[in-house]
């Protein structure tokens, strides 16, 4: 089994604090990997290092066999990794459609001449994109599909999460990084959102997901495998039930007995 994403000895320090400390981690194609651990254990830092927001101090990241260590955000996106953010980072004054299209950047024709002069061709591409965005949004919330040209600012948190996930999915990534998708939502909303994510993966068998989540019910239900971090190091790995029973993991979460 060749790994889709692989990190070797990945380290990142902020001053004297090591957020990532020699992390080894692999994600297989079509796998849903849960990344769990107490606050400050390095989960979001891992995402930020992979997507080029931070640069790693040492170690290596490989994606589909190619070295993408410290590649910038653009190159990572082009390679097929997209993400959501822990605190929603949508462009609030823009419409739902606009926000989703930001994620579709690599598939849209960005030429000046095409955009300004060949408006007929542009309109065709616009209509195709509209249909694609609509189909995707319908998976998550059919009611939103008729409101694609309303500003995101007026939407509740659950809908914003959905739009953010649609933005990450519209470009057909191979790896999706979800950073606490359930933050700020009720239990029921979370369940719905997870069902939608599973549905998307069912339709697209080439999609792998790494999910950072504090809600263990979610992790148990949707992940194939879990990696537990503490102080930037991997302390356990395996199916959720196994890692949940691990003594080290219980100590990291609950403190020493």
């Amino acid at each position: 089994m060749s790994a889709l994403l692989e990190s070797r000895n990945l380290s990142k320090h902020f001053g004297g604090v090591s957020a990532l400390d020699g992390l080894n981690l692999t994600v297989a194609p079509n796998e849903i990997l849960g990344l769990i651990g107490p606050n400050g254990s390095g989960k979001t830092t891992f995402f930020n290092v992979i997507t080029g927001i931070y640069s790693a101090d040492s170690g290596q990241v490989r994606f589909e066999g190619a070295d993408v260590t410290n590649a910038n955000g653009r190159a990572i996106y082009q390679a097929g990794i997209s993400r959501t953010f822990q605190r929603s980072r949508l462009s609030l004054p823009l419409s739902i459609f606009d926000n989703i299209m930001i994620g579709n950047h690599k598939r849209l024709n960005q030429g000046l001449w095409f955009n300004l002069v060949r408006r007929g061709d542009f309109k065709r591409e616009f209509e195709e994109s509209y249909a694609a965005a609509r189909t995707l949004v319908e998976v998550f919330e059919p009611a939103l599909a008729n409101r694609l040209f309303e500003p995101v600012a007026g939407l509740p948190m659950i809908d914003r999460r959905r739009i953010e996930i649609c933005r990450a999915l519209i470009g057909a990534p191979k790896l999706l990084l979800l950073d606490e998708p359930s933050a700020g939502m009720t239990h029921e909303e979370t369940v719905n959102l997870m069902n939608d994510i599973l549905l998307v993966r069912e339709r697209n068998q080439n999609l792998s997901i790494i999910i950072v989540e504090h809600e263990m019910g979610v992790i148990e239900r949707i992940t194939d495998r879990c990696v537990v971090l503490n102080f930037g190091r991997k302390i356990a790995e395996g199916p959720y039930r196994k890692v949940a029973a691990d003594a080290q993991v219980q100590e990291a979460y609950l403190g020493a007995a």
Partner: protein, 370 residues
């Protein structure tokens, strides 16, 4: 509605007595505030957004009607042309600041580069004058890109600081440069297209049209072209890119946007518009001097942008009319006009931070339904 606005504008332009002008202005302000109070403006804005092409057509007719009414009045026509060209320049600023979020405090300097281009080229070369206009745009864009290429890669408002420095340097550069006429400035030869001299009055039978009518037509064409360009830009993936990087650079980068490339593209397009407007303005005035392109003039352009509603071309035109026409007509307040601008900008920022006519949500094709 637009007809009423046109008549109002014509009345304001033709009024001579100060007291009458003040009365008209107050009446206008009262009507707008009353309309806002009763919530008429929102509905009006929505209607305009739905029928934008028709609105554009009517606006052109209104401009032609105003020009026809003042066919032999040099002063008023010059004022109208100034409004047209300042509108083109602020549309350029709007692409830079309103869309890409790059603040340009040297708008008047790039306007000046256009004007000086036409002064030099008209004097020393026989380049066709339409190409001179384009050259003004290209030179302003070139100067802007040389200036900002190193800065646009950085985050934050460093670009704004660099443009301030450029605005101050530009005036000094002109003053000490003898080839460009030093502090006294230069004469600019009038425009001439295919043998048609723009600086002669037009005689049709017994009627003599002001020679400014020529420039008015070219200025109007320029403004219409600029509006179409800016509109198409906004309603394209490029407009979306610019909004995305203005609102959240980090997220935009995570979705593959080349931040520097799009900032520079926006800056070039904006400067191109400013430069063309400047080149024509140089020919209209027949004269360029360093004092016409100071930092203070750049600030006026920025205040038009803030007043009109960042991102909305129609708002910008309304704001340009207010900022250009009111001080000219109200001679009594000439000396205090900067105070007036400051008060206007503060009032807008306090009570209506999105400007007189805020920018609506992007519709790629107005009236398009899935």
């Amino acid at each position: 509605m637009l007809a009423i606005a046109t008549v109002y504008l014509i009345a304001l332009l033709s009024a001579e007595k100060q007291i009458l002008i003040i009365a008209l202005l107050l009446a206008g302000i009262a009507v707008v505030i009353a309309a806002a109070w009763f919530g008429v403006l929102e509905g009006l804005g929505a209607t305009f957004a739905d029928h934008e092409n028709a609105l554009g057509g009517w606006a052109i007719i209104a401009a032609l009607a105003a020009a026809a009414y003042f066919y032999d009045n040099h002063f008023v026509l010059l004022l109208v042309i100034t409004v047209l060209l300042y509108s083109v320049a602020t549309l350029g600023l709007n692409v830079q600041f309103g869309y890409a979020g790059v603040l340009n405090f040297a708008g008047a300097s790039f306007f000046g580069i256009g004007a000086y281009t036409s002064a030099v080229l008209n004097t020393y070369t026989s380049l066709p004058h339409v190409l001179v206009l384009a050259a003004g745009g290209f030179l302003a864009a070139l100067a802007g890109s040389l200036l900002l290429f190193p800065v646009l890669r950085t985050r934050g408002h460093y670009a704004a600081v660099v443009t301030i420095a450029f605005a101050l340097l530009f005036k000094t550069f002109l003053e000490v440069n003898d080839v460009l006429g030093g502090p006294q400035g230069m004469q600019v030869k009038g425009m001439r297209i295919l043998g048609w001299s723009f600086n002669d009055n037009i005689e049709i039978g017994k009627i003599s049209l002001s020679f400014y009518m020529n420039y008015f037509v070219v200025g109007l064409l320029l403004l219409v072209g600029a509006i179409i360009l800016v509109r198409r830009l906004e309603r394209s993936w490029i407009g979306l890119n610019l909004d995305a990087l203005r609102l959240d650079e980090t997220a935009a980068n995570c979705f593959g946007l080349d931040i520097a490339r799009w900032k520079i593209t926006a800056f070039l397009i904006g400067n191109f518009l400013i430069g063309i407007a400047g080149a024509l303005f140089g020919m209209v005035g027949g004269f360029v001097a360093p004092n016409n392109y100071t930092f203070a003039d750049s600030l006026i352009l920025v205040s038009i942008l803030l007043l009109g509603g960042i991102g909305n071309p129609w708002g910008l035109i309304v704001a340009t009319i207010i900022v250009v026409v009111v001080p000219e007509k109200l001679q009594t307040i000439q000396e205090y006009r900067f105070l007036l601008y400051a008060l206007m900008v503060i009032a807008v920022l306090l009570f209506r931070p999105q400007g007189l006519l805020p920018r609506p949500v992007r519709r790629y094709f107005p009236g398009w339904r899935p």
